[in-house]
Structures are given as C-alpha cells and as structure tokens.
C-alpha cells in the first residue's frame, strides 16, 4: 500500500487509479456503444436497396438495348473520337500551360503580366462559350491575314477553311485547360526551394539544365495529382462539343436516340463508357504517383 501511495501516479490521476480493495480483482472492459452508426447504416442500406429496386425491376431501362448498342460501331467510333479529342486538347493544354507557367515566373514583367492576363481571361469564360466563340470566329474575322497591326496586311486564307469543328473543339477545350495547367505547374515549380536552384547552378548547370534535371522532376510530385484530376475532367468536358455537332461519344448517342427515341438506355451507354475511361485514367494516375514517390516514401517531404 505504501508503495502505491508514494509512486506519484496515484496522486496525478486519482480518477483512473485503483482503489486499494479493487486492486486484486480482474475488471471487465465495456466498449463505448455507437447507436448512430447503426442508424446511419440502416439509412444507407435503405437507399441502396431502393436504387437496386429501380435498376432491376423498372423495365424502362431497356438493358437489352444498352447491351445492343454498347459495342456497336457508331458508339465505338464515338468513344475513339472522345479519346482523340481528350488527347489533343490535353496536348494543347499541357504544353501551352507549361509555357504560360514559365512566362508567369519570368523576370520580364510583360511576359509575366500577359500570362496572368491569359489565365484570368480563360478562367473567366465558360469552355462552352469558348468553343462556340471559336467556332463562329469567321463572323468576326472572315479572312485570316498577316501584317502590321493597324497597318497594311496580306490576306492568307478564308477563316472557315481553318476553323473546322475539330479545330474549334481542340483549341476551345485546350486553351481553357492551359489556364488551369499553368497554375498547377507554377505551384509545382514554386514548391521546389530556392536552395535547390542555387545548388544546381553552383555545380555549373545552365538554367535550362537546372529546370530539366533538378526543378521539374521534384515539381512533378506536386503537379501530377491535380493534373490527373484535370485530365479526368477533360474526358467529360469533351461532351461539351456536342453543341457544335462534333461526333464524339455524346453527339453519337444523341444522334441515335433522336432516331429511336431510346433516350435513357442510350444515355446509359454514354455513362458506362465515360465511367470506363475515367476508371482507366485513375489507375494510370495512381501508378505514376507511386513511381514518383519512390524516392520520398521513407521520409515524405521531411526536409524543407
């Protein structure tokens, strides 16, 4: 008894300490009960069962129609067009975005300012409006020409022969994407400390070599997760080009149900394919992230 009283623990937490007469008997541990977890689970189960009911018992889904069209040739061509459009728009978006990020970080105030203005403009315009605007650009400038601003110029080509549906779709989606990519890349570059640049330059690397071998590989770890999100968003954003009748997945689907009036099953075909594409991209993204984190996994971001 005297040992317990003198060890200091009893004095510090009287509520948790054992009274002398209880010290010998084993005690039962009673876990805290969580009644709301059961209520929550019941509510979720109810919603899930209702959805299952809707999916299974409602004949108007016409699942056989979904299946008939899922791998039909026009739909597959539409999927291919969606993939192509995503790739092209991302090529424009990412390459132009990197250029904008480097311009933004340039010591030249005009470069930095114009990059900021571009981002401000294209973040402010809905991509849908942008696509339409580019598509109808010939109404503003019927003939493309090159020359001195406010001065003489040489007429090159009629605008309508250059701005096709594909052009309007790729440029409209790509430029909107570039504005976001620029911000993502800029924050990635800024996440690498100034000391890394000093170290690379002190070894005799040129600014370009420093960017390529030291700054960019480290910035990638910050850039890839949000950039992956952007690519996944782009897959779905391509459906906007149905407004200019570009034959990607959604336009194809609309053309079909305009003829057959099977809107719901045809839209389900679109939903399934968009789901497949985004799932594949999610897997690719997490693979890349795992590779990039290889060197950091033992001590992520410890030394800053």
């Amino acid at each position: 008894m005297s040992v317990q009283e003198n060890n200091g623990l009893a004095g510090r937490s009287p509520a948790g300490s054992l009274s002398p007469e209880e010290a010998g008997t084993p005690l039962t541990v009673v876990p805290l009960r969580h009644p709301w977890r059961w209520a929550g689970a019941a509510a979720i189960a109810y919603v899930l069962l209702s959805i299952a009911d809707l999916l299974i018992t409602n004949p108007r889904w016409q699942w056989h129609t979904v299946w008939d069209y899922l791998f039909s040739e026009p739909v597959l061509l539409g999927v291919l067009a969606t993939i192509t459009l995503t790739v092209l728009a991302e090529l424009v978006g990412i390459s132009f975005g990197i250029l904008l990020a480097i311009m933004r970080l340039s010591p030249n105030p005009l470069l930095s300012w114009s990059s900021a203005m571009f981002t401000w403009t294209f973040r402010g315009i809905p991509p849908l409006v942008m696509i339409l605007f580019i598509y109808f650009f010939s109404a503003l400038v019927p003939v493309l020409s090159i020359g001195i601003p406010f001065g003489p110029s040489i007429e090159l080509v009629r605008t309508n022969t250059v701005i096709t549906q594909t052009f309007a779709a790729v440029i409209g989606l790509g430029l909107a994407q570039a504005a976001y990519v620029a911000e993502i890349v800029r924050s990635g570059i800024l996440s690498v400390t100034q000391g890394q640049t000093s170290a690379a330059l002190a070894l005799g690397m040129t600014p370009l070599q420093t960017m390529r071998h030291v700054i960019f590989p480290q910035a990638m770890r910050v850039i890839v997760p949000p950039l992956g999100n952007e690519v996944i968003s782009m897959v779905k954003a391509t459906s906007l080009v149905s407004v200019i009748a570009y034959m990607e997945l959604l336009t194809t689907i609309q053309v079909i149900y305009a003829r057959t009036f099977e809107q719901i099953p045809m839209l389900m075909v679109a939903v399934i394919w968009y789901g497949v594409l985004t799932t594949v991209l999610t897997i690719v993204q997490s693979r890349i992230e795992t590779r990039l984190n290889k060197s950091a996994k033992n001590n992520p971001g410890a030394r800053r």
Partner: protein, 261 residues
C-alpha cells in the same frame, strides 16, 4: 609553406566589392585576396555579409560595384577597355564549374540517390558517360566514408552524412576552389565533427577554401587566415592566433567574447 602558396595569381581577388539589396548596402567595399592552397575562414555576426560575399564569388549573387576575379578571370563579367559586360548564362556556368560550393542546408537533390547526386553534374554539365563517372563517384564516397550509403536517398541519411555527400558532389567537378557556407550550422552537435573531419582532410590535401563558419575551433586549427566581418566590411584579418588571442578592434573582441561565453 606560406611563402610557397603566396606566389602567382591569387585564386580569389576582391577589390572594393559592393552589393546592395534595394537601398540597403550588404557589402560596403570588400578587399580580399585568397592565394592558391590557402584556407580562409570568414567569421562575424549574422547579417555581416559573409554568406552574401561567398555567393558573389561564384556569381550566385551579382555585385553592384568593384571587381571580383577567380583565378584571374572576372566573375560574371568580361572586361573590354573600361567597360564590364555581363556574361551570358552559359558562359557564367562554364566558369562556375571550377568553383565548388557547400550549403548550410546541404541541398542534395532529393529525387536522386547519394551516388546519383555525385554523378549528375559530371554527366550533364561535362557530358561524360555514366560508366566513366561511376567509379570516380564511388571513390569520392569512399573518401568521405560513405561507400556503404551509395544507393540511399538523401531522406534516408543523417544530416552529417548528407553534408559529406554534398562535399563529394562538389568535388566531383574537380574544383580548384571550394566555398563553404556555414556547412555545420544546420547539424546536430554530435554530427559536426564528421563534416569538419572531411573538410580538414581537404585542407591538408592543398585545396583552396573559403569557409563561412561559426566553428572557432576549426578556424583556429585549420585556417591559414581568419577574416572578421561586420556590417558589410572587413574589420580585421590575420592568422588565427592573432585574431583569437589578440584581437585589435573592439568589435572583434566583443564578438569573440560573446562566443566564448
């Protein structure tokens, strides 16, 4: 020894070097010669301009006045008549190759292993092949006592180990001058010794070194000359014995007194 190393073109020649940040003069006219094989320690209170001066020597900072030359070549400029023309980045980089630098916070490249950190600059700056560089890089790791850490990433190394890899990385470019910017300030006290040991070996091997440091023991033992800076000026300089035992100026005396206590 002193007579031998004092001959020829000085490795570093600074004349009236001025550096400003906005309206604040960080360096107010630095005159300093460092001869071949000499070890010079820069000491002084923080904010005295020691680190800034060091970064001017390899043109990480440009100077706003005076003249600074390494091995007879102006740093960052080309002289034609009475004009100094700022050099293109590629030319600045060529001159920096021969000046090694070690930083307070190591600045190893975190996405590369210890060995890759050492191999990177010879490969991409000098365009040498990986297999030729690898043996040299391994030899440098042996020299700093880390041959068993070649495949480790910086985050898996202690501070002292990281700094020794950083020294090896600078040596891989075969520099004729080494700059050390408070190389032990960010280290736990028990790790300081291993880094100073490597630096001591380097000094004994005849490397020309300019060291910004707060390690007075190292300065006393290894330096040929100690330079005391305060408020952007060199206040006092001389052999370590003279500076530490008989400081001539009040400022040096009070700085050293504070360090001892």
């Amino acid at each position: 020894m002193t007579d031998q190393i004092a001959t020829g073109v000085p490795m570093v020649r600074a004349r009236a070097v001025i550096k400003r940040y906005g309206h604040h003069d960080v360096l107010k006219g630095i005159d300093l010669n460092v001869v071949r094989g000499e070890v010079v320690c820069l000491i002084g209170p923080s904010g005295s301009g020691k680190s800034t001066f060091l970064r001017c020597i390899n043109h990480l900072e440009h100077i706003d006045g005076g003249e600074l030359a390494v091995d007879g070549e102006l740093v960052g400029y080309r002289r034609q008549g009475n004009r100094l023309y700022e050099l293109k980045p590629a030319e600045v980089c060529r001159r920096r190759r021969e000046i090694g630098m070690v930083f307070q916070h190591f600045e190893l490249f975190p996405h590369k292993t210890a060995l890759e950190n050492i191999m990177l600059a010879p490969q991409i700056v000098l365009g040498r092949k990986a297999q030729d560089v690898r043996a040299e890089a391994m030899a440098l790791l042996v020299r700093v006592g880390l041959e068993d850490r070649a495949g480790f990433y910086p985050s898996q190394l202690s501070g002292g180990q990281q700094q020794r890899v950083a020294i090896a990385r600078a040596l891989a470019m075969k520099p004729k001058l080494m700059l050390f910017d408070e190389p032990t300030s960010a280290l736990d006290p028990e790790l300081v010794g291993e880094v100073l040991g490597v630096m001591r070996d380097l000094a004994e091997g005849g490397m020309t070194m300019v060291v910004v440091t707060h390690e007075m023991g190292f300065a006393r033992d290894v330096a040929d000359r100690v330079v005391f800076m305060d408020q952007g000026r060199i206040v006092e300089e001389g052999p370590p014995d003279a500076i530490f035992s008989r400081p001539q100026t009040e400022r040096a005396r009070s700085f050293l007194d504070r360090l001892v206590n």
